[in-house]
Amino acid sequence: MIKNSIGWLALLVLVCCKHNSPKDTPLPYNEAEKYSGGTSTTFDIGEQAFNHAVGGLGGIYKIKNYGSVSDTVTFAEYFKLGNSDFRMPWVSAGNTTTARDGLGPFLNATNCSACHSDDGRGKPDLQNGLLFRLSIPGTDAHGGPKPEPNYGGQLSNFAVFGVPAEGDVSILYEEIKGMFADGETYSLRKPKYEFVGMNYGALSSEVLFSPRVGPQVYGLGLLEAIPESEILKYTDEFDTDKDSISGKANYVWDQAKQTNSLGRFGWKANQPNLKQQIAGAFLGDMGLTTSLNPEENLSGNQVSLYGNLPTGGKPEVSDSIIEELLFYQRCLAVPGRRNIDKAEVIQGKQLFISLNCNKCHVEKQMTGASTISALANQTIYPYTDLLLHDMGNELADQRPDFLATGNEWRTPPLWGIGLIKTVNKHTFLLHDGRARDFKEAILWHGGEAEPSKNKFLKLSKTERDQLIQFLESM
């Protein structure tokens, strides 16, 4: 009787806990791959997935005394300040809140989160994260793009009250039909842009322009902490290994060092570090000056028209806000992968490798030293080499940016992209958001990736779905 009951008991316990039992047949995957952002990876898969701090921020940032009250500011609190800076809008000069004034006169947005909503990805429209870089042939004093004479380096589709915006862009898409080897058809949309309502004279007949969507901003501290030598390891500018894939480093003007440095950030790797990227966005996107960019963003006759408008101080964005934002950007954790043990995802990853996708979207990187311990010496899975690649004429913007030619783009990291749908409620991909989903993004690949794209076209429906499931697991 007792024996029998114990047997029942054991059975009940087993049934009740079945979800904890080990799998019968272990599948070939590496558990470590879940930790896309190293030990500080976040596993929130909800709408806030991109908005978490890396772990280990328990340390003290500073202790400040206010009379008898001593204030201990932890890094976690400091991170929250940066988060606030990222979300809160700036106001134009002359308004009461002088710590956050000086916006414009020309701008694309009033806050960082307008284009990187919830630290995620913008949409392909000028109200929600798309902007247009402008230039004319030639280079500036440092080898960068030569600004368009009337409109500068970027079109501002908004301006402060009383100042007409620079202009707007009308976007039309043309559907291009295609077919997989198995007969399934697809349609890609090719954008056509037209500058309209230009208020400061004609655009140069030679104008070069590049549409760019605000990318998601987590994991940037980790990417910044990858040693230069690790990145340069993958360069193969003249394709000496004859795999049709090159990999070229961009060397761009480093404003603080006053010399050229390796470019890491931006769609064409045209920013050498996060601080310059942030200061560049403040000036170019919001019309806000910083110590790094002390002059207002005015071009052509805008200087005489609006050069005397009140400003928000010199600089408009204080160094302490830049430091808060920099810390915040560095410390945004990367979402971990899901379903890595799922058969389809494992198959999808095999296909990703056999199609040579991983030649540019390099799976694994190691970070080096960092002042933030959670970022130092981490094994990460960003799926990028941070290098430039020729992506073909169809994707080209034909606008050189330092060493990047009109056909070249930096390999964007793939970590976390499966969650854009959840966080940003859309699935637009590529630099201008033309791709409506993963499949279309792959199909737009050309140039060095043409052979990979062609292999994708020949995959079976099942295999294509497996590859997409792998990308969704990011």
């Binding site: 009787m1 009951s5 029942w8 008991l9 009940l12 316990v13 009740c16 806990c17 909800g46 806030q48 908005n51 978490h52 701090a53 206010y66 009379g67 008898s68 009250v69 204030d71 500011v73 609190e77 991170f79 929250k80 300040l81 988060n83 606030s84 809160m88 809008p89 700036w90 106001v91 134009s92 002359g94 308004n95 009461t96 809140t97 002088t98 710590a99 956050r100 916006l103 701008l107 947005a109 009033t110 806050n111 307008a114 908004f158 301006a159 402060v160 009250f161 009383g162 915006a165 009140p310 204080s318 302490s320």
Partner: protein, 388 residues
């Protein structure tokens, strides 16, 4: 014998699967959740009723402006802020204030604003700019509710056309006082509505803004009333999920929003007008009232504007049933935070510049309360979902 064994088996089986922190059934959940909804309904109703009084008086003032009527509008503005500020802890709790496409928080309480998108501001040389929708007769030939609604946040998030702080600006004006001045708030004159350029348009703006304020508060009342759409969804949801949302909202408000964004940021920036009620200088009141709102929900009480009291089971009781020690620690820290908030010196703009110690102390206390609340909730199996 057999029976005993079976019971043992089941109990054992249950135990063997119980994860750490799994929910233990308690008795106060349902009444606490119902009471939470009652407080929401009552406080939004108060804010609405007071806003209606403000709107009526604005209409009366605009018909025949006088200095005393103008002064009275400021009193009525404060009267609607008193209940409204107590509703702040309903934010980030999946409620109608800031969830879904019809969320109204940004329309009610948006900050900061480019006030020169609304009206004139100082040109810094002793004169005024001819700026804002009120002074732009070409782009905005008439000023109506529709104009304000369609231009809200147009061209950027700080281009607010609506909400409490816009009305605050239209009543008080810019606070241009040096930090040493005895009059710390904005000094808008009632003649802005009688003789100043575009005074008729300014009246139209003020009237439209008040009407929209009332509309949006009416929406919240409508959602929370016993037969309201949100109230029905809320009642149908599980107690566990409602409890999780309610406590997460409070914890979020007392971690990121109030102590960090509204208080620490002000101290750290060291700018005189880095305060949410920068025109009226009522920021210290905002802080005290929103913490009073937290206290309301934790203790299950609310005193209506008419003096009537709601007194039911608070969220604290739910915690007490699960972790008496932890709940008492939460209560102690809450009381400390409330006491420290009371000690914040007014006016806030001078305090943050001259001696921010009272603000620093209060923000730390609020933060500590939230941290403890999160720990205790997590310990008793209440899921905390707190955005950064």
């Amino acid at each position: 014998m057999k029976k005993v064994f079976l019971v043992t088996i089941i109990v054992l089986a249950l135990f063997s699967c119980k994860k750490k922190g799994e929910k233990i059934p308690v008795t106060s959940e349902k009444p606490a959740i119902t009471n939470y909804a009652e407080i929401a309904y009552a406080s939004y109703t108060d804010a609405y009723n007071e806003a209606v009084k403000l709107q009526n008086s604005i209409n009366d003032f605009c018909n025949a402006p006088t200095e005393s009527k103008f002064a009275n509008l400021k009193v009525l503005y404060v009267n609607t802020r008193i209940p409204y500020e107590q509703t702040e802890p309903f934010r980030s709790a999946n409620g109608p204030i800031d969830t879904g496409d019809d969320a109204v928080e940004g329309l009610l309480n948006g900050w900061p604003l480019s006030e020169n998108f609304v009206d004139y501001v100082s040109d810094g040389k002793g004169g005024d700019t001819l700026s804002g929708i009120i002074n732009d007769t070409i782009r905005f030939p008439s000023i109506t509710k529709e104009v304000l609604l369609s231009n809200h946040e147009s061209g950027g998030e700080s281009n607010l056309t609506l909400g409490y702080h816009v009305i605050e600006f239209l009543l008080w004006g810019q606070d241009l006082n040096p930090v040493s001045a005895p009059n710390s708030s904005g000094q808008r004159k009632y003649t802005d509505y009688t003789t100043k350029a575009n005074f008729e348009r300014r009246k139209s703006y003020l009237k439209a803004a008040a009407e929209i304020l009332v509309d949006n508060l009416a929406y919240l009342v409508d959602q929370w009333k016993p037969t309201g759409a949100y109230r029905l969804t809320f009642t149908a949801a599980s107690d566990a999920s409602n409890l999780s949302n309610a406590l997460s909202g409070i914890a979020w408000f007392c971690a990121g929003e109030l102590p960090t964004e509204r208080m620490y940021k002000a101290v750290e920036t060291g700018d005189q007008e880095e305060e949410h009620s920068c025109f009226s200088d009522l920021t210290d009141q905002d802080i005290k009232l929103s913490m009073k709102g937290v206290n309301n929900l934790m203790n299950g009480t609310y005193t209506k504007v008419n003096g009537e009291k709601i007194s039911g089971i608070g969220l604290l009781t739910v915690l007490q049933e699960r972790d008496a020690t932890g709940a008492n620690e939460v209560l102690t820290l809450l009381n400390t935070a409330l006491a420290d908030c009371e000690k914040i010196k007014a006016p806030f703009d001078q305090t943050i510049l001259n001696d921010p110690s009272s603000v620093v102390k209060a923000k730390n206390s609020i933060f500590n309360f939230s941290t403890k609340l999160q720990t205790v909730c997590a310990g008793v199996g209440i899921t905390m979902n707190i955005p950064e």
